[in-house]
């Protein structure tokens, strides 16, 4: 028996997806921006690298429906923080409490 009915077709709406998002992407973007600022203003190289990691983790955990510009800008900010801190002081990085 054919149970298909074309008159009972309903279109998909995103509201039907039960989003169980842990907000990791948003947190990573926030951490990325904070660490970028620290790296630029306080010249802490470690912060710059953390910012870059955060941007990449945020990108990996983002949704397709989210705007890619935010992820992209977060990444560019962290990259610029690293480049500028190394231009100002090319000495190697020292991880706090390890050296």
């Amino acid at each position: 028996m054919d149970n298909r009915r074309s008159n009972r077709v309903h279109r998909f709406q995103p509201k039907f997806i039960s989003l169980v998002d842990d907000g990791l992407s948003d947190y990573m973007n926030l951490i990325g921006m904070l660490c970028s600022m620290c790296a630029l203003m306080l010249k802490i190289k470690f912060c710059g690298w953390i910012a870059l990691f955060s941007a990449i983790v945020g990108f990996a955990n983002s949704r397709v429906s989210e705007d890619g510009k935010q992820v992209f800008s977060s990444f560019m900010l962290s990259a610029s923080a690293i480049v500028i801190t190394y231009m100002q002081n090319p000495a190697p990085m020292k991880i706090p409490y390890f050296e």
Binding site: R4, H10, W49, F53, N61, V83, Y86, M87
Partner: protein
Amino acid sequence: MRSSITVFFILLHLLLCFVWSAAKKIHDEDFSEFDDFDEDEFVTEAPFPSGASQLPSKTQSNQPDQTKSEALSQPSMSKTTEQTTHDGVTIDDDDDLMFDEEEFEATDLFSSSSTPDFKIAEVPANLTGNRWESYHCEAIMILVLLSYLINFLIGRSKNARLAATIYNSQRDLLERKFSLVGDNGQTQTTKSTDEQTDNDVVSNNMHKESESLYVLWCSGRTLLDSMLIEIRFIKRQCLFNSLAALIKSINDMIIYTIDYSKDDMETFVFCLAKKRSAVKLHRDMNDLSQFCSERKNAEKHSLSGNYQILSEIGEISNVIIDSRVGDFINKFPDALEYIHISDQYTGMKIQNDNQQSSSSQPSNNGTTVGANGVSATQQQDALNLSERSVRRVLIVAFNLIPSNDRSLQITAETVINDYSRFVLNLADRVSLYRFASKELKAKTSKNRQRIEEQFLKNVNQQRQEQAQQRREEKRRAEKEKIMQSDDPDKQRKWEEKEHKREMKRRQPKMKQMKIKSM
């Protein structure tokens, strides 16, 4: 978009390397004048002023460096000569006659010190020896970054392949059961399988919501409105999440959500779940916490002790849990995570803080689900509607676990059709079921009425609070306006008005008390 961003990452790495080499080159040029130093030149007999002994700092002119080298080669020069050379002026020996030694008392002390006090500055590691070796932290960072990116690409492709396998395995079955299979909700026209028209609405794969979430929408069938298949993979694309999944033993899940229209389903709330899920659902789901008072063990229904039942009416359990469910669980142990049937589905509970803070912010879409998994339906309901926006759903969640030493892909390919058939069969039974007696109907109606009254009470309370807030804001704005006007008469008049208003507000209560006493 994503592939272009990964290509961009690689290009940026190359750019970073280029910038790095350029910075190193500039640095090398600054210190080129130190390359020809011999060890003999470093004679440490006379103390120097502190400014002259800082070797690694960038020098702005060559003159101070040259005078420094002269001073090094002639340690026995008098102080006058050292002073003048430090100033950058070369003086002949004849000039010594101009200076009277008695004027400079400190020279004796200066020349008599036998142990010069040097402060040797620490030379940065990148300027000594093999410079690249000193950048070991950076190398570790870059290695970790590259490994994360490689894991991202591998994890993403694995999830995509699994999704494609699952879709291809059950596509035929779904196309026989539904008129519309696959819809992203974005284009205007739809495709139906019996029309055979070529349209770009329906994709030949599941719709990707994120790297770990794929959905498939099916609609156009008797007895139900729609079916949404969600595949929630482990976040293999993120290294940290995949490690956490290993530790916490999280696995991939397939969730079927079937929506019914108002007349397609009887009014009851029921849930059969594994113990760990039963606890979470009972705590987090609005309908289960409101309508189901306790969790019971499912052993009575010949299921394993691992399962628990939450039911509004006890009789429903016997109807839903029949031999087919038992056979399915025996055939696929640990596959079935939970079955949730409800005509009062409103999503997860809103936390108390969120509710109080967000009740003043109406959402634009009535039934959108928030990013933190909390339903915004109650927010919108509280503000605008007199009815709760509920859904009539059947939700079945399965675990995708590799079985019998097979890979996950092969397991998914073989079992997915059985899962789909089980769900469709259950959906039809739920739709066709009607209460045997009127008492059950009355009981459920009474429960729903009670919840509705509670809801309306909350709505009224929130509306009153909002109205009060608005009134206070208005009053504050008026007060500011009058204070700014700098007119004492106006201010006095306004204060009198306020006073009268307050007296009026207090008076009715007193009047009521008087009537009661009479």
